[in-house]
């Protein structure tokens, strides 16, 4: 008997595409909208998980685009000061509001009211990328000078990149009551001072996240017409929530909002796509295998799985996905373990 599901491809059925597939062979990526050429400039930003993506992209010889290289520094110094971790030295970009704000500031459309926070050790930090300078700055002016250089690199990155990969992390942020600027971490954690009259917690909803993404993408396309954007949602749970509820429930909320917003975007913008790294790591098929013992950090095996799917679907060639019938036979018939060995294995 015919029904609407008759003839649908296997990937639309759980039993065929999930339950019947060995864990490491599962790939939920379907009909990628574009392929990434070997010479394409690939830039990325986002939360902690985005660091895995950028590291792996570099490791496999991708043209990972770094607009702020720190060439004047030694390799160790570059690493210490977070050059090259992302395409520019913006640190983790957790929320879409933070991303939009960064873009607007780089293109002169936003001037934040606050420019530097002081740490307990007397040094100063950039409130919008609080950990990129571990040794801190001498003075607020030094923070501002370095930020101006950084914003120039950010601007170059958005103008020059061919592919921009955005890994959305969460929906909770701390926001200035003065000008609405958002901060990646609450004032008072690393530097600055918490003042409830100046700062407020915010937990963005679908409309806000979607709205920020729309504004960001529209502006990005206007300055870089050839850009294509790959959206992902970080599978890393929240470290903490300011909501009066379990951090797990807040994690579910955040990830759900981000996932919905990503879906809304890809339905409206045909030059964007969604890569399901969130599903690859968190899916029930994986049974939690892809997390470290803290159930939060993604382990090497999980990152490898996500990147394998990424390469198989978004890179034109040199994918390790192909299987050859010429593979070796497992073991020679007619050879058994030697007697000495078997004796040792009799127990």
């Amino acid at each position: 008997m015919n029904n609407p599901y008759s003839g649908l491809p296997d990937y639309q059925f759980w039993r065929r595409s999930v339950a019947a597939v060995q864990t490491h062979l599962f790939d939920p990526t379907v009909n990628p909208r574009f392929r990434i050429d070997a010479d394409a400039k690939v830039a990325s930003a986002g939360s902690c998980f985005a660091q895995h993506i950028s590291r792996r992209l570099r490791g496999i010889g991708f043209n990972y685009y770094v607009a702020e290289t720190g060439e004047h520094l030694s390799p160790d110094e570059r690493l210490h000061r977070q050059y090259g971790i992302f395409s520019a030295r913006f640190g983790n970009v957790y929320t879409t509001a933070q991303l939009l704000q960064l873009f607007q500031e780089a293109f002169g459309e936003h001037v934040p009211a606050e420019t530097a926070w002081q740490r307990p050790d007397g040094r100063f930090i950039d409130p919008y990328r609080q950990q990129v300078e571990p040794d801190g700055f001498d003075c607020p002016e030094a923070v501002a000078r370095e930020r101006a250089r950084h914003l120039e690199a950010v601007r170059t990155m958005f103008l020059e990149a061919d592919i921009f990969i955005l890994t959305m992390g969460l929906t909770e942020a701390w926001r200035s009551r003065v000008d609405g600027s958002v901060f990646p971490m609450a004032p008072g954690v690393i530097g600055g001072r918490f003042d409830p009259d100046r700062y407020e917690p915010v937990n963005f909803g679908v409309e806000q996240v979607h709205g920020d993404l729309v504004r960001f993408l529209d502006r990005l396309k206007s300055v870089n017409p050839g850009i294509r954007v790959l959206l992902t949602v970080s599978p890393v749970p929240l470290l903490a929530t300011f909501e009066d509820r379990s951090v797990l429930c807040s994690t579910t909320y955040s990830k759900a909002v981000l996932r919905v917003a990503a879906d809304m975007i890809t339905r409206s913008y045909d030059w964007t796509d969604y890569f399901p790294s969130f599903e690859i790591i968190t899916g029930s098929y994986a049974g939690g295998l892809y997390y470290e013992d803290d159930y939060r950090e993604v382990n090497r095996v999980g990152v490898a799985h996500a990147m394998r799917c990424f390469l198989s679907n978004y890179v034109a060639a040199d994918s390790p996905k192909s299987a050859s019938p010429a593979a070796t036979k497992p073991a020679p018939s007619g050879i058994i373990c030697d007697e000495e060995m078997i004796a040792a294995l009799r127990g």
Binding site: A19, A20, Q22, T23, H24, L25, G287, L289, R300, V301, A304, H305, R308, D318, P320, S322, A323, S324, P325, A326, A327, T328, K329, P330, A331, P332, S333, G334, I335, I336, C337, D338, E339, M341, I342, A343, A344, L345, R346, G347
Partner: protein, 285 residues
């Protein structure tokens, strides 16, 4: 109470003990091929005592006596699966298999590098994902899975469901012919099911004897692709001691140096893999 004799090789004990745990209606005895051969007369005399013989198909042809009629003989293939250890192969010199630092398993990369005159340090540099991909090391899973499952299916044993579980947390093989005990336990359970026999639900497993053998590592890059933890630690056979990659290469070179260049040949099952590896090491592939 049925009396069974399990006649196999290194997987014999694990299978027999699994049968015992899984069914209360069985009295199970195990014998590997060397035990049978060393006391053939006694076993021949006792054959009629057993209500069923469960026999490794290859071993059946190696015995110097005929097994009883087919009515109570079941053939159960061994677990053989090399996708975790695609660098490993069996090699011969002067017609005999050679034994290296971890026994029968030799590294095709190490041997190819030695044949090409590479130093241990240059050989060490070949152990990377780029080389593995060109050697075809990532290509074995699907064909070997299909071959193994079909082999068991042709003997009436359905392992598809069990196979889904085996590799979920770690490699289910210690080496290409030494499975972990949970695999043998599943084989035993499915074999009993194929005979229509009920099995106990229990989470107890027999001792995992095969870990006493050599355990080549699942190289990190291969482990990434197969979704399991990896390493470069080679466990020696009969010893609870590892060689790291540098030690393994040096010990392998010492073995190879005992033979004239070109005299070490891959077993026919590993010829294609070795030839491809050699071309990669030569920069031809």
């Amino acid at each position: 109470m049925e009396r069974w004799l399990i006649l196999s090789h290194c997987q014999t004990r694990g299978l027999a003990q699994s049968f015992s745990l899984l069914s209360s209606s069985l009295q199970v005895e195990a014998a590997d091929v060397y035990e049978i051969k060393s006391d053939a007369a006694a076993y021949i005399e006792r054959m009629s005592d057993f209500t069923r013989l469960v026999v490794h198909p290859d071993i059946a042809t190696m015995l110097e006596f005929d097994l009883p009629g087919a009515a109570n003989v079941s053939y159960l293939p061994p677990i053989e699966f090399g996708a975790y250890h695609p660098d490993m192969g069996y090699y011969r010199a002067n017609g005999e298999l050679i034994y290296g630092p971890i026994g029968l398993n030799q590294s095709s990369i190490a041997l190819a590098a030695w044949h090409e005159g590479l130093s241990p340090a240059d050989t060490r540099a070949l152990f990377n994902g780029y080389v593995y991909e060109r050697c075809g090391f990532y290509e074995d899973w699907v064909p070997q899975r299909d071959l193994m499952l079909e082999t068991f299916r042709s003997h009436g044993v359905e392992l598809d469901g069990a196979f889904q579980r085996w590799g979920r947390k770690r490699a289910f093989m210690y080496s290409m012919r030494h499975p972990r005990i949970e695999v043998l336990h599943d084989v035993a359970r499915q074999f009993l099911a194929s005979l229509g026999m009920e099995t106990r639900s229990t989470d107890l497993l027999p001792p995992d004897l095969l870990v006493n053998g050599s355990c080549p590592p699942v190289y990190d890059e291969i482990a990434d692709v197969l979704g399991v933890p990896g390493s470069y630690l080679f466990k020696k056979r009969y010893e609870y001691k590892y060689l790291d990659l540098d030690e393994f290469i040096c010990a392998s070179f010492e073995l190879f140096a005992r033979y004239p260049i070109g005299s070490i040949k891959p077993h026919p099952n590993f010829e294609a893999r070795y030839d491809r590896t050699l071309r990669v090491v030569r920069g031809e592939a």
